[in-house]
């Protein structure tokens, strides 16, 4: 009986949080189109989230392309299908691996950063101070961050895909003596808009989810400094879960339309 009660409590708690997060998202959309637009803060956040994540995302993408090709190459050679490596790698990276890996890295770096930053601002009552001073903290802190992640994650994914494909090309060039032109001809020949457009569109949702969960956890941080760590950690875990759910939904929707 107590198990049922405890389960019900968890479910209710979960539903409450989903509702609060939905209200938080609704508030974001409301505040998004209201003046004043915090463009300078938006650009600063874009720089922090985009430019400063590029190295991490680039290195990760490069290694993914390299490793993925190295791992699949022997099996493809056994099958006598080495000519298909560029097609296989490109479709895998562009459709799935590039977006999800980049989003997960950004969830770790950006999501936790937002959660920790806003959480510390909350526990140190900086947000309350902003409210008192007449500044809209939601607009200044939350809207700019969510918008920045929504806009920057797709660009990071595109760059990550390009770098990963370049890494794959390096392996093919060294091991299989494949030319740059042949490799990228094969890549673009095998890619279709059905690979490119849905995978790019879903990265906007990924970016939005990273910003939303990070901001939500940080903005409503409780229990002092200990709560800051919890907020950062929860932001990463929940974002990662949400990313997989969103990815699944995106694949299902793509499958319906194509």
């Amino acid at each position: 009986m107590s198990f049922f009660r405890t389960s019900m409590q968890y479910i209710l708690k979960y539903l409450e949080e989903v509702g609060e997060m939905s209200a938080f998202a609704g508030r974001f959309f409301r505040e998004l189109f209201r003046r004043p637009f915090e463009s300078r803060e938006l650009l600063r956040q874009c720089y922090n989230m985009g430019n400063k994540s590029l190295l991490l995302v680039g290195v990760t993408g490069f290694i993914i392309g390299l490793v993925f090709t190295l791992q699949s190459r022997p099996k493809m050679l056994d099958l006598g299908a080495s000519a298909w490596i560029p097609s296989m790698v490109s479709i895998s990276i562009v459709r799935e691996i590039g977006p999800i890996i980049t989003a997960l890295i950004c969830a770790g770096r950006i999501g936790s950063g937002i959660g920790a930053e806003l959480g510390s601002m909350r526990v140190t009552e900086q947000i309350d101070a902003m409210e008192v001073s007449g500044t809209n903290p939601f607009k200044y802190l939350v809207v700019t961050r969510i918008l920045a992640t929504t806009l920057m994650i797709p660009l990071l994914v595109v760059m990550s895909d390009a770098i990963a494909l370049f890494g794959s090309f390096l392996v093919e060039n060294t091991k299989g003596d494949v030319s740059f032109r042949y490799f990228f001809d094969e890549v673009f020949l095998s890619l279709d808009f059905v690979d490119l457009i849905p995978s790019t569109l879903k990265t906007f949702f990924f970016g939005f989810a990273i910003g939303l969960v990070g901001c939500y956890r940080g903005y409503y941080c409780k229990h002092g400094t200990a709560g800051v760590g919890v907020a950062a950690n929860t932001a990463v875990v929940e974002t990662s879960m949400l990313l997989f759910v969103l990815d699944f939904i995106a694949v299902m929707v793509t499958d319906i339309f194509y």
Binding site: Y47, G50, V94, L155, V158, M159, F188, L189, T200
Partner: protein
């Protein structure tokens, strides 16, 4: 402030790079699908498109020349496929070209392969419909393979039976394998065969030599092979024919003569004519002989008289009384000679 400007520049660079990469990817993917180039629409009608989808490649002589734009079902058995082909390729596709739906490799994507028509055909124009072939379906291939397999199984069973019979020494091949005496016989046969072959070789060499010698003109065959011989033979035959005709005439004459001689002989036998007396009366012959002897002596005398007369005449020529006459006679003779 300066820091903020530098940061914004770096951010701008980042955004532009990311956007450019995305646009380039869209452009290259679109270009591969002939989305941005100038292309013309062609149609092909199929009964079964085997899972062909819009965006699949169109291949002409091994070159990707466009992509499938639209697939529409006109009736329960007619499916119209509309596809775009690059304008620079269009003049090379003939109206008698055929479209076939096939796979790119064994397990690749479906493609529409346009098989070139004969070069005498006219080039297609935008909006034309080209003919199509039905693709050989996998299930049809499997059915054929199944029949082939059944036949192969039957053949194998028969072969197995034959092999067993051979192994047990049945039949010609079996007895050849099992019977050891056959080996000896075979060896001997081969030995004889070798000798026969050698003899044949020698004979053939001789024959060859003989045939070579026949090419020369110094023997009968060579003469026969001479191309002028028929002409000569023809001429000879003509001569022979002519001669035989003359011979016939001669024979006729001879026959006439013989007939005459025969009648003459008959007359002689009958005792008519002078010859009968000449041949049958010996007194007459003696008389004739005497007469001939008398005639002979008379002629001798006449001859002597002639000599003496010549001498007299010569004496007359020198006589002055007859000299004028002889001179006149000589002059007349000279005149006659001058006229001639």
């Amino acid at each position: 402030m300066e820091k903020s400007v530098a940061r914004n520049i770096r951010l701008g660079l980042f955004v532009i790079t990311g956007t450019a990469l995305l646009v380039a990817a869209v452009y290259f993917v679109g270009q591969k699908q002939s989305m941005f180039g100038n292309s013309s629409q062609l149609y092909a009608v199929f009964h079964d498109i085997n899972g062909l989808r819009p965006g699949n490649n169109i291949r002409y002589s091994g070159i990707n020349v466009g992509s499938v734009k639209e697939i529409s079902m006109v009736s329960d058995t007619i499916i119209v496929v509309r596809f775009g082909v690059k304008n620079d390729i269009l003049p090379h596709i003939r109206k008698n070209a055929h479209a076939i739906i096939t796979t790119d490799g064994l397990v690749g994507n479906m493609i529409v392969n346009i098989l070139p028509g004969s070069s005498s055909g006219l080039a297609v124009k935008a909006g034309d419909t080209i003919m199509s072939f039905a693709r050989v379906r996998t299930d049809e291939m499997l059915t054929t393979l199944s029949v082939t397999n059944e036949n192969a199984a039957l053949l194998t069973a028969e072969l197995l039976k034959i092999t067993r019979e051979i192994s047990s020494g049945k039949g010609v091949i079996g007895s050849m394998i099992k019977d050891t005496t056959i080996t000896t016989d075979l060896k001997e046969t081969i030995h004889h065969l070798r000798h026969t072959t050698e003899a044949s070789h020698a004979t053939l060499t001789k024959l060859n030599r003989l045939i070579t010698s026949l090419d020369k003109n110094n023997n009968i065959v060579g003469t026969l092979r001479d191309t002028t011989l028929p002409v000569t033979i023809r001429q000879t035959l003509a001569n022979l024919e002519r001669s035989s005709k003359q011979l016939v005439k001669v024979m006729d004459n001879v026959n006439g003569l013989i007939g005459n001689a025969d009648s003459t002989i008959t007359n002689i036998r009958k005792g008519e004519g002078a010859i009968n007396f000449l041949s049958n009366d010996p007194v007459l012959v003696t008389k004739i002989d005497h007469t001939v002897s008398s005639l002979d002596s008379a002629l001798m005398k006449i001859n002597d008289a002639g000599v003496k007369l010549n001498e007299n005449l010569e004496a007359l020529k020198h006589n002055w009384f007859f000299k004028g006459y002889f001179k006149k006679l000589e002059k007349e003779q000279e005149k006659k000679a001058g006229k001639n």
